[in-house]
Symmetry: C2
Subunit: 361 residues, 2 copies
């Protein structure tokens, strides 16, 4: 087991990474405020891991209630969030009850937002079971639900007390979701970690083959990057925005096609290519560098162009982005591979051209 | 104009109290992060004050969008909250857009919760227009919506940047709401300010006649008490719970009868008598002291007994209270007039007896 710390003062917490950690309830027990938890999961992950986790906790005298949500980004909405509140109130969960998210990014975002707002805030633990959640969404305290007009538009910054990434849960992860997770893995290399990008070019096949050592190493490297960024800028006043490379384009794709049609990682991959192409048009990347980005994403089994929505529709959706300031869109772009930057330099014509160059015709 | 400060370190903010402050946009302008606001109000307060506030801000170059909600506690729910999000997103409000609550407690609670969660948090200003909101709910950062199983069950601690209490807005306040506000005014005397309780006994008629000097003095005294309590215990780990005198009983009444049937202050008044009666049964108050409490509330035009729900129904609803710990109900009671205490001493039989003694038969 490897342990990293997210250094956030009184909100600091550890990330444990290792195989089989789900069977080690001691990691959780020491972090509970009271011997009572509510596990939030979904109808795909629940059948695989819920009873194991529940049994381990109950065997140690913890009262466990659970909520099983329908699976998928399409359910990251008010209606489904209310299922969590109904369950918490129905079971009379108290302010000292810890909410545990057991699942991928959607479960983590929703359980986290429920924990942030139930009785104005209860303790929260993340147990991510997808690659995307283990390397990215479970760390850093961003929680949210979607709105028909924009992704992650309603939420809170709310840090967990603990993150447990049991890499054995990736054994059951569908192929498509593994690949989607790799989009966020590659992101860290692009925005701030060139040696990791080089390593990924050499090891992407091992990751796709789920080589345990390669996966564990990549997850730890990503979490280390994420923890550093979050510790420096918890509420995204600056550097943290770099973690959104490809996301403004990607959110437009997700919103336009209907949440869940493309997986989040898939949309981010296409968006990352758009960001790289735009960076080239601004004179920051060479064509060969854009090709390097495209090639690695393609090797990871990810889409490298977006759907043919037309640039206008993209721009319209992107205007809802949380990084818009005074009507001006700010995008995460690349000054180099390994060097992301938040920039308002590009005008609409540049952005539209990059979108068109990277969309299906 | 009087100004008090809520001492919360980097989240500190001023409360301005005075007549005609709505016409002084400079108070607001200096606190805006960007020249853009979204005013949330309701269909009773909006027609009275919205265009005045909007005009004053627009005249100073601020872009103003507005949302007018239906009036009343019955609308403090997800559906109505979503009207705010729809409006914010429809107008493409940004992270630097300030949400302004213009109205009573319901508007403040909902606008505050929307501000806490829109794009994971935007700046927020409270302009309370009811006595209850000016003396209590606009100060201290508690925001929430109701759930069918419990009042204020979903929300956030989220501090405003500024509170402006224009006492002239009380001129248009319906009589019943003025009286409801007095329940929270009397609360401060009971839990921590005996001299103020004495003053209220001497001046309750002036308050009911809306004597401007008496109202201004009472509002300032309440805000001073509230600011002290909040500064000492922002997220209600201890002392802040005292502000809930009468509220656990009162929330049960509000939930049982349907939100909005009784006004919040009316339910709190009946709940306060129950708390006083229970304190007497525990040997902490004399019968004459309970009578003093009852008499002042009655003189303020408030109910001094609850509806005949039966003690069991009360207890069942009270079990959802946010102060329940390990299944044990904690209540705010009185050790003396001017000395509140949070206590788990009373057993169900004591509580039931106090409820029965203070309910309509």
């Amino acid at each position: 087991m490897h342990t990293l710390d997210v250094a956030l003062g009184e909100r600091a917490y550890p990330i444990h990474i290792g195989r089989g950690l789900l069977d080690d309830p001691a990691l959780i027990l020491g972090r509970l405020q009271a011997p009572r938890v509510a596990i939030v999961t979904n109808d795909r992950v629940g059948p695989l891991y819920l009873s194991r986790l529940q049994g381990a906790l109950e065997g140690n005298g913890v009262r466990v209630d659970s909520v099983v949500l329908p699976d998928g980004e399409a359910y990251k909405d008010w209606q489904t969030l209310n299922l969590i509140f109904d369950a918490l109130l129905g079971a009379r969960c108290e302010r000292s009850t810890t909410v545990i998210a057991l699942g991928g990014g959607v479960v983590g975002d929703m359980a986290g937002f429920a924990a942030a707002t139930y009785q104005r805030g209860v303790p929260f633990i993340q147990i991510p079971t997808t690659l995307l959640a283990q390397v990215d969404s479970s760390v850093g305290g961003k929680t949210a639900i979607n709105h028909p007009l924009g992704k992650n538009m309603i939420g809170a910054f709310y840090q967990p007390r603990l993150v447990i990434a049991d890499t054995a849960t990736l054994d059951t992860l569908p192929e498509r979701e593994l690949k989607a997770g790799l989009a966020e893995v590659i992101k860290y290399g692009l925005i701030r970690d060139l040696p990791f990008f080089d390593w990924l070019e050499a090891n992407i096949d091992s990751l796709l083959e789920r080589d345990p050592a390669a996966l564990a190493w990549a997850i730890e490297r990503c979490c280390r990057n994420k923890a550093e960024v979050v510790a420096a800028d918890e509420t995204e006043k600056g550097e943290r925005a770099l973690l959104n490379l490809g996301h403004t384009f990607g959110h437009a794709i997700e919103t336009a096609l209907g949440y869940g049609t493309w997986l989040h990682g898939e949309a981010v991959a296409a968006g990352t290519v758009m960001a790289a192409e735009l960076s080239r048009r601004l004179g920051w990347l060479h064509g060969a560098q854009v090709e390097r980005v495209r090639t690695l994403l393609r090797r990871a089994g990810l889409p490298v162009s977006g759907p043919a929505l037309g640039a206008e529709r993209y721009l319209d959706l992107m205007a809802h982005d949380k990084k818009v300031e005074a009507g001006q869109l700010r995008l995460v772009l690349l000054k180099d591979i390994g060097a992301g930057v938040v920039s308002a330099t590009a005008d609409s014509a540049d952005i539209a051209a990059a979108i068109e160059a990277c969309s299906v015709r």
